[in-house]
Symmetry: C2
DNA sequence: CGGGCTTTGTGAACATGTGCACGTGTTCGG
DNA sequence: CCGAACACGTGCACATGTTCACAAAGCCCG
């Protein structure tokens, strides 16, 4: 991956944040360098995979030594676009939306919740943990004013597609969907989903098969 | 996949719940049969993939017609082990744990929250949305008494590995981890994770690359 | 009852992801 | 200065997943 063959595989992209978290731990321990072996252990993957993944970022390691923790962390942050904050908007100020707004972990990792948005006029104007609730119609304005590039969908499933459309319309190109619904977004928009019930069902599958076949 | 070649690929397992949700919608609409084409559209995937996925369950379709919605839904539920409830225990009665306990969507989908567990004695004995909080030590007892097979980790990251160990020790073979930490579990235990910050970082990657290269 | 239409089920090609094995550069002790 | 230990970077083989394309099967209708 000598120089500009900059097409990082999806599977690798999904692991970079895990490596980065491990590097952050090492930084706290004042560890200067780390081997692929050690990093692999911390990230719960295979060492060869770590080396291959990191090689997509460039040749930042030193043979016989390992990787400089700080430098690697910097390069990785840069690649992930984490050198600046990404304000997010949460759509749906219900149970989940409020819980997420309450959660400090996002700001800490560079994703401050800049605004909440809801279709329910009764909720508009409220403050949730210091974050103001706006009306859905204000999305475009909020996007421009606050520089929002990421939207989180925390509405009931039926509204999810409409919200996604509104987000895309407003020029918000990255969407994280919590609603248990399949939604489609225009070309050029990134979509990821978190579906808890789905995860439980997958667990159920393997559990059931262990229980019945496993005997 | 004629008969007993019962080794369903992981990628397929992860899609089955999505199909099932689509089938549930069709059932509500009183739709009797569905083609792979239509199901693919609803599930947001390719039709060939739907057919291949379903073929792992058996030959439940009828050429020229499609799949009987009710029958397929039944077979799929059976395969996923959703013909009975799976009581879950949530470990960590904090922000997230309480929000999850409050959420009705789990019970509705067959995953009733049977108990909350926490290490903090001050929280033990409380009721959260009708769910009692027990002490971590009671895990084995709860597991037996309530028939719990699935544990959800909603503690701070530092405690996650300890909790996973306690769950495994108690004989709980399926774990869903919300803490941003890599944890390892013994052979024969299923582990899935939900990491919101990680998802946002992945979105950040693609957004950044669109913003910079895309121009 | 047969021909045409529809839609499944699957073999095969292709794409993506993983892991081994090893060449190569680096360090360090003697 | 040399050799041994170390650890990266990557070619290659293998595994898994996706998509195409088409024969076979069932339905409908005349
Ligand atoms: N609460 C949880 O712990 C949890 C867990 C997993 C998944 N979810 C999913 O998250 C979503 C939200 O769950 P919740 O418990 O917060 O629901 P909720 O009913 O408490 O909140 C939904 C909010 O969305 C708002 N809303 C509805 N339509 C809207 C629209 N078109 N535009 C903007 N806002 C709109 C409502 O006014 C309400 O404030 C659901 O899809 C649910 O399945 C929730
Ligand atoms: N709150 C959110 O919206 C949110 C979102 C994403 C991820 N998370 C993650 O979920 C986890 C929990 O977050 P939270 O906001 O609920 O934290 P919290 O501090 O509110 O709650 C943590 C709970 O875990 C309990 N606990 C601590 N150690 C324990 C142990 N060894 N055994 C049992 N219980 C123990 C604590 O007593 C506390 O009740 C964190 O890892 C966080 O990063 C939370």
């Amino acid at each position: 991956m000598s120089d500009r063959s900059r097409r990082i595989p999806e599977a690798t992209v999904a692991r970079l944040p895990v490596y980065l978290r491990s590097l952050a731990e090492l930084l706290e321990d004042k560890t200067a360098t780390v081997s692929s072996e050690r990093l692999a252990e911390m990230a719960g993957v295979n060492a060869a995979k770590v080396r291959k993944d990191l090689s997509y970022l460039g040749s930042y390691g030193t043979r016989g030594v390992g990787y400089d923790v700080e430098y690697l962390a910097f390069q990785m942050s840069r690649e992930l676009g984490l050198t600046h904050d990404w304000p997010v908007v949460i759509v749906g100020a219900g149970n989940l939306g409020q819980a997420l707004a309450n959660y400090g972990g996002f700001k800490e990792r560079g994703f401050p919740v800049a605004a909440l948005v809801d279709a329910d006029r009764a909720k508009v104007g409220q403050l949730v943990h210091g974050v103001p609730v706006h009306h859905l119609d204000e999305l475009p304005v909020l996007k421009e004013r606050l520089g929002i590039a990421i939207g989180i969908i925390a509405t009931p499933a039926v509204a999810a597609q409409d919200v996604a459309d509104a987000l895309a319309e407003a020029g918000i190109g990255s969407i994280l969907n919590f609603a248990p619904a399949v939604i489609s977004v225009p070309e050029g928009t990134s979509l990821r989903k978190v579906d808890l019930a789905l995860e439980l069902q997958i667990l159920s599958f393997y559990q059931e098969h262990r229980d019945t076949e496993g005997v």
